[in-house]
């Protein structure tokens, strides 16, 4: 009888041990991917230090519990010694965790200084506008006029790419147009919330220096509504010379001279407000170019695209209000029904009829 009880205990032990081994091996990835910024290197070292300390505590405590479970299982009816406490031991084991957490605190504060340091003159400053459910990255230039800055806005089909040079301090100014979002790049080991603030209050800023060229994916990390999972973006880091060439080309291509609209073209008025168009049906003459005079009445970027099935027939640029108007010149369409939508907010859509 006793032997089978003991055997059961051992089987239990084996099961518990196996379970932990399996969990640890399968779920075993407890180390982040290779850090990609100088700040992330600091966080990474700190993390490894704390992980090692955590591992020691884990093995020590769990080991003691498992040992007790086997060593002190009930063998007979004798009542064990009734130990009520021991002041010296209790003082010691109050001091041990205090020392451990103080060490962690001191190292954390040291690392925090490095991670949060701001340089006086970042090489590149990008204004990040977060909104439901996309990003606009606007590259600040020297003329203090935000309206002619080069910018990239993502769409549901095309997540935005932030192109950046390596080896230079990069500053991001995080501005929200609606709810709270969070700018998160896992390989940079950092995120910072993008908080909507009252007029005149400073936005959060994030600074980092990328060490290696490459593509780093990121996404919104603060739950921000229905399309939260779709707020992906990526960072494309390249050598300084490549970046210089890229930004020059991007800026040059940014403001093409607007062509004069044909004098007799039909003008369709279209407005956007509260993430919705003011109509879900537009009628235009078939076979003739026409103009969509699109007014965006809110501080969230919108555009108008015209699609037939999944095929793009026209795609207008993004504009951001309040009360910004653009004339989209749409080429002639054959007789038929088409879809029009804002590609940033695919729920904003309607039918365009050419007749």
């Amino acid at each position: 009888m006793r032997r089978t009880v003991a055997a059961n205990r051992w089987r239990m032990a084996l099961r518990a041990g196996l379970l932990f081994a399996v969990a640890m091996l399968l779920g075993g990835c407890l180390v982040p991917r290779e850090p990609a910024t100088t700040q992330a290197e600091t966080t990474f070292s700190l993390y490894i230090l704390i992980l090692v300390m955590a591992g020691i505590v884990f093995v020590g405590v769990e080991g003691f519990i498992v040992f007790s479970v086997f060593r002190y299982r009930r063998r007979d009816d004798r009542l064990p010694e009734q130990i009520h406490g021991n002041n010296r031991i209790e003082v010691i084991w109050t001091i041990i965790p205090t020392v451990i957490v103080l060490i962690i605190f001191v190292f954390s504060m040291g690392a925090l200084g490095t991670v949060q340091a701001k340089s006086p003159n970042p090489a590149v400053t990008v204004e990040v506008d977060a909104f439901q459910w996309q990003w606009t990255f606007r590259y600040r230039d020297d003329d203090n006029d935000p309206n002619n800055d080069y910018s990239v806005t993502g769409s549901a089909q095309q997540p935005p790419v932030m192109t950046l040079p390596v080896g230079q301090p990069i500053r991001l100014v995080l501005h929200s147009l609606d709810v709270i979002h969070s700018f998160y790049v896992p390989q940079f080991l950092i995120k910072e919330d993008v908080v909507p603030v009252p007029e005149g209050t400073a936005d959060n800023e994030l600074e980092f220096t990328i060490e290696r060229a490459g593509t780093y994916s990121g996404q919104c990390a603060e739950f921000c509504g229905t399309g939260h999972a779709n707020m992906a973006f990526s960072i494309q880091a390249m050598e300084q010379a490549d970046y210089d060439a890229w930004i020059a080309a991007a800026r040059a291509g940014e403001s093409p001279p607007p062509a004069p609209p044909p004098a007799d073209a039909t003008v369709i008025e279209l407005n956007a407000k509260n993430i919705a168009f003011d109509t879900d049906r537009i009628e235009v003459p078939a076979g003739k170019p026409f103009i969509i005079r699109f007014t965006n009445q809110e501080a969230v970027p919108h555009n108008v695209g015209i699609y037939s099935g999944g095929t793009e027939l026209f795609q207008g640029e993004n504009i951001t209000g309040p009360d910004t108007t653009v004339d989209y010149q749409v080429p002639a369409l054959e007789v038929g029904e088409y879809d029009f939508l804002c590609t940033i907010h695919p729920t904003m859509n309607g039918t365009l009829v050419a007749q």
Binding site: T43, A54, L189, A221, A232
Partner: protein
């Protein structure tokens, strides 16, 4: 002068059992209703968890659209916290605390009934969003301005019902806490001094004080949120000069003490069970009491560690206090370890769940210390690492404590012991399933998977961990089957085990199982924190007086 002889065991007049239960003010019946009601909500929220895990098993949206998914995780979190873990522990406290103190009932029996009946009402209000165009979908934390601007971001009455439901649930907690505090201070039996109270009573006392101070803050915040949504208030609207971060301060000023509201009574349960099945007193009773009070005090100074990445809190202070709260928690861990050390340990199901609690809660504690470091939190905040951490605390901690309490006190409540074989089956499937579900989430978080996303890219390298996690979730669901069979079968035809089947220590075991309406016919003398142990070993004590033999070194009489 005429004397009236009141027999506490006299038959009351006959009425149907439905009326009896609906109108009862007996703390034991109310406690059982608390527990049953909480388990019903547990199963509902558990089904939502399975829905969430099914959707996340592999990339792509297979079962839900995004808004349904967002409702599912919002309801899962809200129901689990507010309508399962807090009330189920309050239910056990309701049943057990008066018995542990040698009291005939709670101090305010009618308020006790009121605070129970507000729970199903609040819970159904929260759930009823599903009938009116969709439940709340802003997460259980309901961050503004997503939640506060009904015109732009969160249309629909689901969120309003969520707010009002939580106000009811919060009011229920506040009433309950007043009742517990009064009961514990004023209703103790003669001899039950404050330092002879069972640890479970201590943890309930500190919990009640936390509820009393924290919940009104949440209620005020919720009402401000309701005004913002419906009457054009601008507490949290930045466009009108409000501040969305204010909501986070209000929510977490309640929300972090809430974590201890949820874990402290479970710690109390474990501190009752470990000594019984180790046949030793709790090591360092006073240290444990001071650690409980210390946790209660420190819990007021750590709330902003949920807000490190907002860029709007003073990091060193909150990081320091958060690290510091690990110390009293560590002390408790050592106390439990030392209680088992050189004990005489048996492994009945309550003990398995109690050991499960300390081994799993340790992992939650360690990951908590890791998250207390701001630079590391910048990486892990709002990822699955946090989801893993909070489930190791709430599920590995509190829920293991709840099951330990269920198996431990079931014989007291019904006179019958739950079947040990089914209980152990439940424990092992539960334990393995729990780790399979939540351990891989650490890895997901470290690899950068944010929480609250309905879908993820197949290229992200997260699929294998998500698959493991989903398999584990279904394993937990399977483990509930033997538990339910066990409860039903035991109620019908379980083993009758008498008044004190575990050879336990505290006063609730000195009365019958189940206890009579007024709880005690006679009380044993209370000369220590283990009156029933003293009673059982009276012979040892007498022997000590005669022969000078220390208790516990000789054969049992």
């Amino acid at each position: 002068m005429a004397t009236t002889n009141l027999n506490p065991r006299a038959e009351s007049y006959r009425r149907s059992w439905v009326i009896e239960w609906l109108t009862t003010v007996d703390h034991k019946k109310i406690g059982i209703m608390y527990i049953v009601n909480s388990f019903l909500f547990f199963f509902a929220a558990g089904i939502l968890a399975l829905v969430i895990r099914s959707e996340l098993a592999i990339p792509g949206l297979q079962f839900l659209d995004e808004s349904t998914y967002n409702q599912a995780f919002t309801m899962h979190g809200t129901i689990m916290i507010f309508l399962f873990v807090v009330p189920v522990l309050a239910g056990f406290a309701n049943y057990i605390v008066p018995l542990m103190l040698g009291a005939p009932d709670m101090a305010f029996p009618r308020i006790n009934a009121l605070s129970f009946w507000m729970l199903p009402l609040g819970g159904l209000l929260i759930f009823s969003g599903y009938l009116f165009g969709g439940a709340a979908a802003e997460g259980w934390t309901g961050y503004a301005p997503l939640s506060s601007n009904a015109d732009k971001f969160s249309a629909g009455v689901g969120t309003d019902l969520w707010i009002m439901g939580l106000v009811f649930v919060g009011t229920s907690s506040i009433l309950g806490s007043v009742n517990f505090i009064t009961t514990i201070f004023k209703m103790r039996a003669p001899g039950m001094t404050i330092f002879r109270m069972p640890i479970f009573v201590w943890t309930v006392l500190v919990t009640a004080i936390l509820i009393l101070l924290a919940t009104p803050v949440l209620t005020a915040g919720l009402i401000a949120l309701f005004i913002d949504r419906n009457y054009g208030g601008s507490f949290f609207d930045p466009a009108a000069g409000g501040n969305p971060i204010l909501w986070q301060h209000l929510f977490w000023f309640f929300g972090h003490p809430e974590v201890y509201i949820v874990i402290l009574p479970a710690m109390g349960v474990v501190s009752e069970i470990l000594p019984v099945f180790s046949r030793k007193p709790l090591f360092g009773y006073r240290a444990f009491v001071y650690a409980t009070i210390g946790i209660g005090l420190l819990s007021w100074s750590v709330w902003a560690h949920h807000m490190f990445t907002t860029g709007r809190v003073f990091l060193p202070f909150f990081a320091f206090m958060t690290a510091l709260i690990a110390v009293p928690t560590g002390v408790k861990m050592f106390n439990w370890m030392a209680t088992m050390w050189r004990g005489s340990i048996t492994f009945a199901t309550p003990m398995l769940f109690a050991i499960g609690f300390i081994t799993m809660f340790l992992i939650g504690g360690i990951s908590g210390v890791i998250l207390s470091s701001p630079p590391i939190d910048f990486h892990l905040q709002d990822t699955y690492f946090v989801v893993a951490h909070l489930h190791y605390v709430f599920f590995g901690g509190s829920v293991f404590g709840v099951f330990a309490a269920t198996y431990f006190w079931f014989p007291k409540m019904f006179g019958r012991r739950l079947n040990e074989k089914l209980g152990k089956t439940h424990f092992w499937i539960h334990f393995i399933g729990f780790n399979l579900t939540f351990f891989p989430m650490h890895s997901l978080g470290i690899l950068g998977m944010p929480r609250r996303i309905a879908d993820y890219s197949p290229d992200a390298g997260w699929t294998i961990y998500n698959l493991m996690s989903t398999a584990g979730a279904f394993m937990i669901a399977v483990s509930i089957v033997p538990f339910l069979i066990n409860v039903v079968a035991t109620l019908i035809n379980g083993e009758r085990v008498g008044d004190d089947p575990w050879e336990a220590n505290t006063l609730e075991w000195a009365t019958t199982s189940p206890p009579p309406p007024y709880n005690f016919d006679t009380l044993p003398p209370i000369r220590s924190e283990r009156p029933v142990f003293d009673l059982r070993h009276k012979h040892d004590a007498e022997q000590l007086a005669i022969e000078g033999t220390p208790i516990g070194t000789g054969e049992r009489p």
